[in-house]
């Protein structure tokens, strides 16, 4: 090989090496996959998005594995649900990541709950004798596509602040996402018109925002207190209430045990509708596809079909 070829090869290799980290302009890490899907919708090819939790995991309880700290170490922006949802694991990871850009209070940290209208915020003092209560309100707001849009808008603003040279791309992506979501929402609301006033039983208190959006009524929970597993006396009461109020379906996330719910579903009778715990972001699912899945399952539930 001649010296000039060597130099060409070397410079090509250098270019490759140098261009490698510049593949994405913004490295975004999110606590849960629903936010990851929103961040990807807004960021498009300008961002690289990683979710710390999987959609099959209960977001309250994620192992603070060191490889997740490694993701945070290299992140420009950390997006979290907030309202104490991740309080058991995210602060440990943040403190161990040695990246002051993503510490709470820095520009690279965004608590997206600030963009959502909060439900079930306790008006009286709470303590742990009431179970796993969230003093700031119910954090499961991304079940509501209206909250999804507000959060996406907030994420876009922050991405523009951190990466102003791509501001146009973020604005365009947000506009596109907003149009698509609003169109889809009109369709969803039509399909779920029958949910208004429908009495349902839920496993855990994850249904507040879905109920607020679609209009169903959660008349009882299988958990006697949030985070406390069901017991026979309580489930019997729930069964009694369910029969009295003519409950139309039982709702639960896929990460909760299903045998009790199935038995209750037979005894009531009412279909058991199992909802996915979050967007399957790793599998390429978008936020709109996720809500579509939830809507389809609810729609089937209304027709008496369980999941």
């Amino acid at each position: 090989m001649s010296p000039s070829r060597w130099i060409a090869a070397l410079s090509a290799a250098l270019c490759l090496l140098l261009s490698f980290p510049a593949r994405a302009d913004l490295k975004v890490v999110t606590s849960v996959p629903d936010i990851a899907a929103l961040a990807k919708a807004v960021g498009g090819d300008k961002v690289q998005v990683t979710s710390l939790a999987l959609s099959t995991q209960d977001p309250h309880f994620v192992d603070a594995k060191p490889n997740l700290a490694l993701d945070l170490n290299r992140a420009d922006l950390l997006l979290a649900i907030g309202m104490d949802l991740e309080i058991g694991w995210l602060p440990t990871l943040q403190n161990g990541a040695r990246n002051d850009r993503i510490l709470s209070g820095s520009n690279g940290y965004l608590d997206v709950s600030q963009f959502a209208r909060k439900l079930e915020a306790p008006t009286t003092p709470v303590d742990r004798s009431q179970g796993d209560v969230h003093p700031g309100g119910n954090p499961h707001f991304l079940y509501d596509p209206r909250a999804g849009l507000a959060v996406a808008t907030g994420i876009a603003d922050r991405m523009i602040t951190l990466d102003p040279k791509n501001a146009e791309a973020y604005r365009a992506n947000l506009a596109k996402f907003s149009t698509e979501l609003e169109q889809a929402r009109a369709g969803w609301e039509k399909r779920l018109a029958g949910m208004k006033g429908v009495p349902v039983i839920a496993y855990h208190r994850t249904t507040a925002y879905l109920a607020d959006w679609t209009g169903f009524q959660t008349i009882a929970y299988l958990e006697p207190k949030p985070g406390i597993p069901p017991n026979p006396a309580h489930v019997a009461q729930v069964l009694g209430q369910g029969r009295q109020k003519k409950v139309r379906m039982i709702l639960q996330e896929e990460y909760y045990p299903a045998t009790t719910s199935k038995q209750l579903s037979k005894l009531l009778p009412a279909p058991l509708v199992v909802l996915p715990g979050g967007t399957n972001f790793r599998g390429g699912q978008t936020y709109i596809q996720r809500i579509e899945e939830v809507v389809t399952r609810l729609e089937n539930g209304l027709k008496g079909q369980g999941t």
Partner: protein, 449 residues
């Protein structure tokens, strides 16, 4: 009543106490109090108790509940995940709601108490927070403080209240914004030698600490006043390099080093130097492996420039299926310590270590077993040495412990533990049984993996 039958009776009482508590927790009719069942919003209306639920219905429901519990025992099944202390599952601690947070100062208290029964009048417990006498034991009341100091430092403190005094176990500042993936800690802290040393009792899978830690470092573990630097390497997998310089004195904390002997620092070589490398391998979503290598070097009190070396390795393997939302968890953990001490005219060396396995088979239940061993200190000629630290330790020691843990919620746990201690220099094995209760109040921060 013979000693053995009395022991058995005691065990039966402990067991029945534990089980009755668990049963009452499982069946407490919480639903009877409408306000209590409300999370935060409007409480769901409660029906009167007799709403046409027949005995058959009840039976079917109870069977279903039983199946959910059984399903959780099998890996990969979809079992209740809410309320599962996944973050520090073995200790059963997460934090929600954070109800002691005074303008950013997070406060928490952990109370550990245990009832204990030993067959020996002088049990060989080595840990500062171990149950040590038959009867009730106050292990500790730990107060943890955690807050940001300013944009550059975080403060962490662990103040331990014992029955007769207060001890500042840890108090240190950690930097938050050093460049190049560096972090510094300064103050009094548990050094990050091995896996268990840097943790507190509520992160342990057992009521007591492995005797190797008490023997090599002291009842309080390898703790010191000094400074530590750690660096997260830019390698594609997690590799952390840690080095610290601490005072080599303190009986409960540096017993293989200067220990309680007087003689302060006169040169830079009078410190204890500790180094460690920790690597983490996420083998899959469900399987994780942590591996560490540690070493410590410092002066011992046997003469001018006589030093002690401790070399250790630790492994931690955790299987926790997250793809199916299961509550199953299986962990294996082991540490090995090799200690070498320069003494006048000789070098003493010994091995000690432990291996343990934990199986969490239900949202609320786990069982664990541990095996420990320790060799006597030997001279260069492989003879059992006249050990100035543990003169009675003239032969091998092995201990086997097993326990059963029940978590009513992630903020409390009950643990029944039994052990057989075979110290060969004693005439017969020692047996012990503990029933320990731990409660966590406040925003106790989760532990690192």
């Amino acid at each position: 009543m013979s000693v053995t039958s009395r022991r058995l009776a005691g065990l039966a009482v402990c067991l029945s106490f534990c089980l009755s508590l668990s049963a009452s927790a499982q069946t407490s009719p919480d639903a009877g109090t409408p306000s209590a069942s409300s999370d935060a919003g409007t409480p769901p209306e409660e029906a009167s108790p007799d709403t046409g639920v027949s005995a058959e219905d009840m039976k079917a429901l109870e069977e279903a509940l039983g199946q959910d519990a059984a399903a959780a025992a099998q890996s990969g099944s979809s079992a209740a995940a809410s309320g599962t202390p996944a973050t520090s599952s073995t200790s059963g601690i997460t934090l929600s709601p954070s109800n002691i947070n005074i303008r950013g100062l997070e406060l928490s208290f952990v109370l550990d108490v245990a009832g204990a029964a030993f067959t020996s009048k002088e049990p060989l417990q080595t840990g500062g927070h171990d149950p040590t006498v038959s009867g009730f034991n106050f292990q500790q009341l730990e107060m943890s403080l955690n807050t940001a100091v300013d944009p550059y430092f975080r403060f962490t403190g662990n103040i331990v209240f014992s029955q007769f005094g207060v001890e500042v176990e840890e108090a240190y500042a950690t930097t938050t914004s050093l460049p190049a993936n560096l972090q510094l800690r300064a103050g009094q802290f548990l050094t990050r030698f091995g896996r268990l040393n840097a943790t507190h009792p509520h992160a342990w899978d057992f009521v007591d600490q492995p005797f190797s830690i008490g023997r090599v470092f002291g009842g309080e573990g390898n703790r010191g006043l000094g400074v530590e630097a750690s660096w997260l390497t830019p390698l594609p997998w997690y590799v952390e390099v840690i080095g610290s310089v601490t005072d080599a004195s303190g009986e409960g904390t540096a017993r293989s080093f200067l220990g309680s002997s007087s003689g302060g620092v006169t040169s830079p070589f009078d410190f204890q130097f500790t180094g460690a490398v920790k690597q983490f391998f996420p083998l899959s979503d469900d399987l994780s492996l942590m591996w560490g290598l540690s070493g410590a070097n410092g002066p011992n009190p046997t003469g001018y420039r006589n030093r002690t070396d401790v070399i250790g390795t630790d492994v931690y393997l955790r299987y926790r299926p997250i793809s199916g939302g299961s509550t199953t968890m299986v962990t294996f953990q082991g540490e090995l310590f090799y200690r070498r001490r320069q003494v006048p005219q000789d070098v003493l060396s010994d091995f000690s270590g432990y291996g343990q396995a934990l199986w969490r088979f239900d949202q609320r239940w786990a069982t664990a077993a541990r095996y420990e061993f320790g060799s006597p200190a030997r001279t260069r000629g492989s003879l059992v040495a006249d050990d100035p630290l543990d003169p009675e330790w003239t032969d091998d020691r092995q201990r086997i412990s097993a326990n059963l843990t029940f978590w009513p919620t992630e903020f409390s746990r009950l643990r029944l533990q039994a052990a057989t201690d075979l110290a060969r220099w004693r005439e017969r094995p020692d047996y012990s049984v503990f029933l320990a209760l731990e409660v966590v109040m406040g925003a106790h921060g989760s532990h690192a993996f």
